[in-house]
């Protein structure tokens, strides 16, 4: 017998990735968050909702488990009967009975194999489907979350939730569900069989139960604290690794290798200390359980022996009984394991649900209007806003942008330029005042139709994996090839696209790796050109491009801005001097407003900024 390491018996799916044999041995916990879930029952109940469509299938699987467990319970009894058929003393064997037993046993074993296979086969589908729907709904949820959510979180954390945590849930479902079912059935079944076989022996073997309970509890209490500590320490270590490897240029430039290594050593050593304690404690669990099982085994043998000598039980009964008592203890041992797996799974689910519970972008009001033909008239009325309530960013901003006008926002870093754009596009909602588009509060439009009004060219052009054509079409999914090419022609991107080996079908890796920054920006402009938005937003569209390349792009941008209301944020003042209106923002307020010539004539802040930027050059010109 395998002394409790046969937990895979009922989980015919893949072996658990990190805990072979499901030992609660510590290292298995290294990756999975065995941080104790905060609300075990609640999360479990929520997870159960995802089982929704699969409930019928689960019921069916449960039935197979039930039948299978019954078969497994029968087997020792049958073996016992078969042994009894060979009566002990005189070499007399009841062959006709033995034959019957053997046929029954064989069919039971075959039945068991078929059922186990069926369980594994079906469960693989169920578990993966549930996890898939969990992952899908997580991703769908992400679509509805406001930008503020993404601004506040690292990508690493999100990725880890989508992959590690969801995987944890998957392992839990595929392993624990059938195991838990069969465990419970076998536990009760064995107990019943034991009582039927011999109440006295049952009583004798029960002495181990309280021992098992007490020990598991004591050890589990200690280890769960230690494992939590280990996870924390591991998190710290990973943080340190992430930081020092991403920033290795600085580490090296400042000769800080040794200091960084020293610090790593400290955290690493601490991790070892906690990890070691956790592992040793949890490592004790198995041998002790094993000893207790064997103790039970010995007690049954001795008591059984005594009873047999008094002819109170047959040898066959003892043989069956021992097998049953093992079957009885095994699920008990497994339960501890299952509980561990379950805990880490639920902790994973909790981290997934945390995102599910995030506040979504507010829903469209019931009477929301679909914005069908936007003209592009924008008006800010006493708009106030702060990302945090105690830190106001915009104070009482009011302005009007006429249809087809170009409007520039200038000012020092942190003045609130990007915030104005974030509010205008409803990435964030205003906290005071209102913003009107074509005479209506922007919150009265459906979010979907409203956003379609805008076209963005940002400092960070984001290109997606795919062909150039696909990337351009991002602006208009159903665009024809002719439309794509016309847009590229207009933006000037066609020039470099033609030079590429596969032209429009050239495949781009993540974020357009092989293209230069200028080329990427041209693609982004083409994308917007194709989508023909009514309002255009250029947020530092050319600031990461050298000024010569900028000249080419400038042309494209001017074409893009024709007949469109546009908002331009720029550091380089020469890029905005042609704007109809220039607004100087400082400290969350508009302090000057007017055309370039007006502002220069006024000799205020803009004049000073402009002078500052160009004085040297102009001086050199003389």
């Amino acid at each position: 017998m395998a002394n409790g390491m046969d937990q895979s018996r009922n989980s015919p799916s893949v072996p658990p990735p990190l805990s072979p044999g499901g030992r609660p041995g510590g290292a298995a916990r290294f990756r999975g968050p065995v941080v104790k879930p905060k609300n075990f029952k609640g999360t479990l109940r929520r997870l159960w909702e995802y089982f929704g469509k699969e409930r019928n299938m689960l019921t069916f699987i449960f039935l197979t488990v039930l039948v299978d467990s019954a078969l497994m319970l029968m087997n020792p009894y049958l073996i016992g009967k078969a042994v009894d058929a060979m009566s002990l003393n005189h070499g007399k064997v009841n062959f006709s009975f033995l034959e019957v037993m053997i046929v029954v046993l064989t069919s039971a074993y075959i039945g068991d194999a078929v059922l186990t296979f069926l369980q594994g086969w079906l469960m693989a589908g169920v578990a993966q489907r549930i996890v898939k729907s969990l992952r899908d709904s997580l991703f769908r949820k992400l679509q509805k979350l406001p930008i503020s959510f993404f601004d506040a979180r690292t990508h690493g954390d999100m990725m880890s939730r989508l992959s590690n945590d969801v995987d944890n849930v998957s392992t839990t479902i595929s392993q624990s569900t059938t195991q838990l079912m069969s465990g419970l059935i076998i536990l009760t079944g064995s107990f019943m069989m034991m009582v039927v076989l011999s109440p006295l022996l049952t009583l004798a073997s029960m002495i181990t139960v309280p021992l098992v309970y007490l020990l598991t509890r004591t050890i589990a209490k200690r280890t769960s604290i230690l494992f939590k500590k280990q996870q924390d320490q591991l998190g710290k270590l990973n943080g340190h690794i992430e930081e020092t490897i991403s920033g290795i240029e600085v580490v090296k430039a400042f000769n800080h290798e040794e200091k960084v290594i020293e610090e790593f050593d400290k955290v690493n050593t601490k991790l070892r200390e906690v990890g070691l304690k956790a592992q040793i404690w949890s490592g004790f669990l198995m041998p002790i359980m094993n000893a207790i099982n064997n103790l039970g085994f010995a007690v049954v043998a001795v008591v059984g022996g005594i009873l047999a000598t008094k002819n109170m039980v047959t040898v066959g009964v003892i043989a069956s009984f021992i097998t049953y008592s093992r079957q009885f203890v095994r699920p008990l041992n497994d339960m501890a394991n299952i509980f561990n797996v379950l805990q880490s799974g639920v902790a994973g689910a909790e981290r997934v649900f945390e995102i599910m519970d995030e506040q979504e972008e507010s829903n469209d009001p019931p009477n929301a209007v679909v914005l069908s033909k936007p003209k592009g008239h924008v008006k800010f009325e006493n708009v106030s806003f702060g990302y945090r309530p105690d830190v106001p960013i915009l104070k009482n901003v009011s302005f009007e942008a006429k249809i087809g006008s170009s409007n520039a926002l200038v000012g020092p870093t942190g003045a609130g330029k990007t915030t104005i754009v974030n509010l205008l596009t409803r990435f964030y909602d205003v906290t005071g005042g209102r913003i009107l588009l074509d005479g209506k509060d922007i919150r009265e439009y459906t979010r979907d139709s409203f956003r379609r009004t805008f076209g963005f060219v940002l400092q960070d052009t984001y290109l997606f994996t795919g062909t150039i054509k696909e990337n351009i079409k991002y602006g208009k999914q159903d665009a024809t090839d002719e439309e794509v090419e016309a847009a590229a022609q207009m933006s000037g991107a066609a020039r470099f696209i033609k030079r590429l080996p596969n032209g429009y079908d050239t495949h781009l890796s993540e974020n357009g790796g092989s293209l230069s920054q200028g080329e990427r920006q041209l693609l982004a402009i083409t994308r917007v050109m194709l989508s023909k938005p009514s309002i255009l937003i250029l947020d530092e569209a050319t600031s990461s491009i050298d000024t010569r390349t900028e000249l080419h792009i400038q042309e494209a941008l001017l074409k893009l801005m024709e007949n469109r209301t546009s908002f331009i944020i720029a550091h380089r003042l020469n890029t905005i001097r042609d704007a109809d209106t220039i607004m100087v923002i400082d400290n969350g307020q508009i302090i000057e407003k007017g055309s370039h010539d007006e502002l220069m004539a006024a000799g205020g802040r803009y004049y000073y900024m402009f002078y500052n930027q160009f004085k040297n050059i102009e001086g050199a010109l003389d």
Binding site: G283, T413, T547
Partner: protein
């Protein structure tokens, strides 16, 4: 996997002791069924209570011994595996931190992080498992076989058929399973890829209202992953029942043969029970072994990934000399320098000849990709030149320990890299024992002092996780302060004021002039205004120097410079 030999040498004794105790444990497990058989055959059959008690006592003693062995083994296994993991991780980290950039560039940063965390853990878990069950399963299987054969040779014939079949099943399992599981891994990469892209481009997705497309993309990847996972798991679900069935049918045969044996008096009933017990034990061990193989394959892959890093031979020699003559502090000479990154044959810098005198301020300008950052990186010996020579203070830097070299230089990189910790701690990166006054002076010069003291806890304000988020321009200024506090001989600002508005930039430059007298200063910039008052301006174009001179000189002679100038002045020039 040569890197493992160090740890094998260190831990093999402890490892063997652990395995020894594991063997004791296995032997104790194996003895149980035999004793049980004796209790039944000798004690119960002969109604000898005394014998039953004696054997029962023996069984308990063996159990106790087994438990002690297991406990000891567990402690040793924990110590060995934890120490091993800790050391491996430390060595790997150290290796990565001290590798040259040429070596570093061979890996993705993210991949290096995974190797340090996930892969090390995989190997550690396997080593731990090795001392816990992986060795025990074969031991139990072999032991079970030996005991079963010793118990009864006739019945053992059954094993001669069952074991090869099971072995075959395990082989099939591995053969079929591995490629399928690697497909699953790949599909998972796909899912993660879509997710990563979404997260990086979320503003664009939102701006274009492209939720449907993204969801469709994700659903496709997710569906693919699900299908692969289901296929792999379904295939696997055949093997475990098949192995069980083979062994169980073996048990039936044992019962049948046993029946005949009992009749002919050659086999005792207790033997049959024990034999069946052994068979179950063997089958369980075999199942474990098949799992161990799967684990092994995973750990092997991880060890391979770790080994790749260790295999990198440092391309830069470290233990060279230092500067002898320190007469010309802060002089830099480029002599016919050509440089290409390992990833391509196309040189990034071609035939660079340039002399920078002590105390000079040199501006470097040129379009994106013209080689500006590469040029200054070579001075710090982040890479070694492909041909030609760079001299700092008159010494060939290839002859100088990079540590000594970098002591002289302070770099403000293009990307803002600050570390978790307080503002003061971050600035002190430049000089660990800098006084408060020094830190503040550096911050003032960098134009950072005012916003730092405006932050809730001033210089003790935490940066990074859970801390205050400074804006891009503010972070740039903190990293300038970090470089200044070092009081270097050579200061390199790699486009470090791009996120700082023009007015603030002018202030910083003015302050720098007073702070850094006699300091050699290299300024990379996009804006001509940032560098036009430099002593010397270097114009780079496609990796070549196309002009060196003052602003006045270049504006007359250098066409590229004129072009840049025109582009920034817009209509003003016409």
């Amino acid at each position: 996997m040569k890197f493992l030999s160090k740890y094998i040498k260190k831990y093999w004794v402890s490892f063997c002791i652990a395995v020894l105790f594991l063997t004791f444990e296995a032997v104790c497990d194996l003895l149980q069924p035999t004793i049980m058989a004796k209790i039944i055959d000798k004690g119960v059959a002969r109604k000898d209570i005394h014998y039953v008690l004696q054997m029962g006592g023996l069984m308990l003693a063996i159990t106790a011994f087994g438990a002690v062995s297991a406990g000891t083994r567990s402690v040793i296994a924990s110590i060995v595996s934890q120490n091993f993991g800790t050391e491996l991780r430390f060595d790997l980290f150290k290796k990565i931190q001290t590798m040259s950039f040429k070596n570093l560039d061979q890996f993705d940063r993210a991949s290096l992080i995974t190797r340090l965390t996930n892969d090390v853990t995989q190997v550690q878990v396997f080593v731990n498992g090795l001392m816990r069950i992986f060795v025990k399963s074969p031991l139990l299987a072999i032991g079970g076989l030996v005991m079963a054969v010793r118990l009864n040779l006739h019945l053992a014939v059954v094993l001669a058929i069952v074991v090869p079949i099971v072995a075959l099943l395990i082989v099939f399992n591995m053969r079929l399973g591995l490629p399928r599981f690697s497909k699953v891994q790949k599909a998972l990469d796909g899912v993660n890829g879509v997710m990563r892209e979404y997260l990086s481009g979320v503003r664009v997705v939102k701006a274009f209202n492209h939720f449907d497309v993204e969801v469709a993309k994700f659903t496709k990847a997710n569906e693919h992953y699900k299908n692969q996972a289901v296929a792999a798991n379904r295939l696997m679900s055949i093997f475990s029942p098949a192995i069980m069935l083979t062994v169980n049918l073996g048990i039936v045969v044992v019962l049948w043969i046993g029946g005949w044996g009992v009749r002919s008096g050659t086999i005792q009933v207790g033997h049959i029970i024990a034999f069946i017990n052994y068979m179950t034990q063997i089958s369980m061990s075999l199942m474990m072994i098949s799992m161990v193989f799967n684990m092994y394959v995973r750990a092997r892959a991880s060890a391979g990934r770790i080994g790749e890093v260790f295999l990198q031979e440092d391309s830069i020699a470290w233990d060279r000399g230092s500067f002898n003559t320190r007469t010309e502090k802060g002089r830099i000479d480029f002599e016919n320098v050509t440089f290409a990154y390992a990833s391509s044959t196309e040189p990034v810098l071609k035939n660079i000849n340039l002399t920078i005198l002590p105390g000079e301020t040199v501006g470097i300008i040129g379009s994106t990709g013209s080689g500006k950052s590469t040029l200054v990186g070579l001075i710090s010996r982040f890479y070694d030149v492909s041909s030609g020579m760079i001299r700092v203070d008159g010494e060939d830097i290839k002859q100088i320990n990079p540590k000594v070299l970098r002591e002289k230089i302070a770099l403000v990189p293009q990307k803002n890299i600050l570390f978790t910790g307080s503002v003061a701690e971050n600035i002190r990166w430049g000089k660990e024992d800098a006084t408060k006054a020094e830190v503040e002076q550096a911050a003032r010069t960098a134009g950072a002092h005012d916003f730092i003291i405006a932050a809730p806890e001033g210089y003790e304000t935490m940066i990074g996780q859970g801390g205050v988020n400074f804006s891009g321009g503010q972070k740039q200024r903190i990293s300038i302060a970090r470089a200044l506090v070092k009081r270097p001989e050579i200061l390199i600002l790699d486009d470090s004021t791009s996120a700082v508005d023009v007015t603030t930039e002018a202030k910083i430059k003015k302050a720098l002039k007073t702070y850094a007298k006699g300091l050699t200063c290299l300024l990379i910039a996009q804006r001509i205004t940032s560098i036009m008052d430099a002593d010397k301006i270097v114009v780079l174009d496609h990796g070549e120097i196309v002009g060196i001179g003052t602003h006045q000189e270049l504006i007359k002679e250098c066409s590229v410079y004129q072009e840049i100038y025109r582009s920034q002045m817009g209509k003003e020039v016409q």
